[in-house]
């Protein structure tokens, strides 16, 4: 069974069971933005994680707590960290923001998602969570648009960081 069959089978199972349909859709939907990531580890991992436990402290997985409104490749898989761009790229100074719950302390934090720019598409560890994502006419929380090219950063997109700004009031 190839992975597309797997997806279909899972989709069918999900539809039947109503379990985690949301994460299936979010993961698959997001693939589009990342594009051409097939075969898709994020999808596989999402499936694996439905059975296994969540990994909110592993910053190389989509479950990482601060990644609640990401749409792109994790810089932690590209030679960067959650807040630092990989060597050779340029951090976009302007970012969209999200509000994510840290299960370690039960507090919500404001996270700025800075794209790293000016380097080849990283194409690793694609994640698409969408908590609080808005349409483009409300761009400050819109994760589906490329923020590279803004504020003097080069326009090509490499990966996305998730930089914790402050405790959410």
């Amino acid at each position: 069974m190839n992975w597309f069959d797997k997806i279909s089978a899972h989709a069918a199972a999900d539809l039947a069971g109503k379990t985690s349909r949301r994460s299936l859709l979010a993961s698959l939907g997001g693939v589009i933005a990342g594009g051409a990531l097939l075969p898709l580890l994020p999808v596989d991992r999402t499936f694996a994680q439905e059975a296994a436990e969540k990994t909110p402290m592993d910053s190389k997985t989509c479950d990482y707590w601060a990644y609640c409104s990401v749409d792109g490749w994790l810089c932690t898989c590209c030679g960067g960290t959650t807040s630092q761009c990989p060597p050779g790229s340029v951090a976009a100074p302007i970012a969209w923001t999200g509000t994510c719950l840290n299960p370690s302390d039960g507090k919500s934090y404001v996270v700025a998602y800075h794209d790293c720019c000016g380097a080849i598409p990283c194409k690793r560890c694609y994640c698409n969570t969408n908590e609080g994502d808005t349409a483009r006419y409300q761009p400050q929380r819109a994760n589906s648009v490329s923020w590279c090219g803004n504020g003097g950063a080069p326009a090509s997109y490499h990966c996305t960081t998730s930089r914790v700004l402050a405790i959410a009031e």
Partner: protein, 409 residues
């Protein structure tokens, strides 16, 4: 080196390809060829002329469609949907989206973003002009390097209804629109918005946009493409409680937009007016969950002649927000729901064969096809019955990740 074949491609050769060479049994266009028949070669036909194909006129009743592949450098594939034959491809540039087809049929435009060194170096944004028959580039118009990129939508670029101007979404992150005069092949300039995005044509000198406060902004251009007037029309939608997806679909003078929770909003732009039609709820819950528009990119289509609205729908467990806000609005679809424009009744519900889809579109003829993409695949359905007639797949008819669809009129 002289011993290499070095016959140049010449106009004569380009014409010669239309000759009936005994050898070229397996033509690329048209329907099936007996692939296993023997192939005898007339020595007089050798050497075969070398050339470059030119597209024929689209035959009456034919269904041609562009499937567009996203990310990195994007491209479109022109497919004869009846035969499944690839007719040609068109490069669309960095995170390219969709070409724009002129109503006259005499040009294809693409707003391309390029870098002088692959993915680095100097950025240049251009409107490229291609010949629709040869797919050869005819020229380009440089515009401000501000084009919006990211997840594609059909409503980030448009032509005015007379093909005179092209309007392009900019994002810096200020939201503006670039105006290009296609007749003069000149970049006109930029039109500011106060937080409005997506651009929809509403006449030869008017476009509108959706705004962050739920209003609709109309902008009127003069004959040079400069802003002549603007008006904000308040109360089109509930931007906080149930915002609209930015990708809409047009039926004559009416534009449709679906909200994230499944309310259809429509605006009639006829007669130079803006008239909001009564919103109607088309969402539904059943044993699969709550059905909402599945809007990763292109979830809405209208077959104008029959007044049928097609919506890609997906089931989600519920509409409750997560700690950071709701996140149910960008999933894939598994069904296409068909509504009547007038009665708003759901007249059909097509379960998609593959179980997931990213984008849909409908041809406008009397035997309409429903086009559906699913990344590495595209499927062709009868839009009247929901029966799948053809599957296209990666590395065969397609290449890349298909997420946008543009039927050729």
């Amino acid at each position: 080196m002289s011993f290499f074949g070095s016959e140049r491609s010449s106009p004569a050769a380009t014409v010669a390809m239309r000759r009936g060479l005994g050898l070229v049994l397996v033509a690329s266009m048209g329907a099936g060829v007996a692939a296993s028949s023997a192939q005898t070669i007339d020595p007089a036909s050798l050497p075969e002329p070398l050339g470059v194909l030119v597209l024929p006129d689209k035959p009456a009743g034919a269904h041609w469609v562009w499937f567009c592949s996203f990310v990195d450098y994007g491209h479109g594939t022109l497919v004869d949907a009846d035969s499944g034959v690839v007719l040609g491809t068109l490069e669309l540039g960095y995170q390219g989206i969709l070409p724009q087809l002129s109503r006259s049929g005499d040009a294809i435009y693409n707003v391309g973003m390029y870098f002088s060194r692959g993915f680095h170096g100097e950025r240049t944004d251009v409107v490229e002009i291609f010949d629709p028959k040869t797919l050869a580039k005819q020229g380009e118009i440089e515009i401000a390097p501000k084009s919006m990129r990211g997840l594609p939508s059909t409503n980030l670029t448009t032509l005015t209804d007379d093909d005179r101007f092209l309007l392009q979404s900019f994002f810096t992150p200020a939201l503006t629109f670039g105006v290009v005069d296609l007749a003069l092949r000149e970049y006109v300039g930029e039109i500011e918005t106060a937080g409005c995005a997506h651009v929809m044509a509403a006449g030869s000198r008017r476009f509108f946009s959706l705004c962050g406060d739920g209003s609709l902004l109309t902008v009127d251009l003069d004959n040079s493409g400069t802003e002549k007037a603007r008006q904000r029309h308040r109360g089109f939608f509930d931007a906080e409680g149930d915002p609209l997806h930015g990708t809409g679909a047009r039926s004559g003078d009416v534009w449709y937009f679906a909200s994230v929770r499944g309310v259809m909003h429509a605006v009639d732009t006829s007669g130079g007016q803006i008239r909001f039609l009564e919103p109607w709820n088309f969402g539904e819950s059943d044993e699969a969950g709550v059905w909402v528009p599945a809007a990763p990119s292109q979830h809405l289509a209208v077959h104008t002649a029959s007044g049928r609205i097609f919506v890609l729908m997906g089931a989600v467990p519920d509409l409750e927000p997560k700690p950071g806000g709701y996140d149910f609005h960008r999933g894939l679809g598994s069904e296409v729901w068909v509504f009547d424009e007038q009665s708003h009744e759901r007249v059909d519900r097509f379960k998609l064969e593959r179980g997931y889809a990213a984008a849909i579109a409908v041809s406008q003829d009397r035997a309409p096809l429903l086009y559906v993409t699913a990344y590495k695949f595209a499927d062709i359905y009868d839009a009247r019955t929901g029966v799948r007639s053809r599957e296209l797949s990666d590395n065969k008819e397609l290449s890349g990740t298909q997420i946008m669809i543009l039927p050729v009129p």
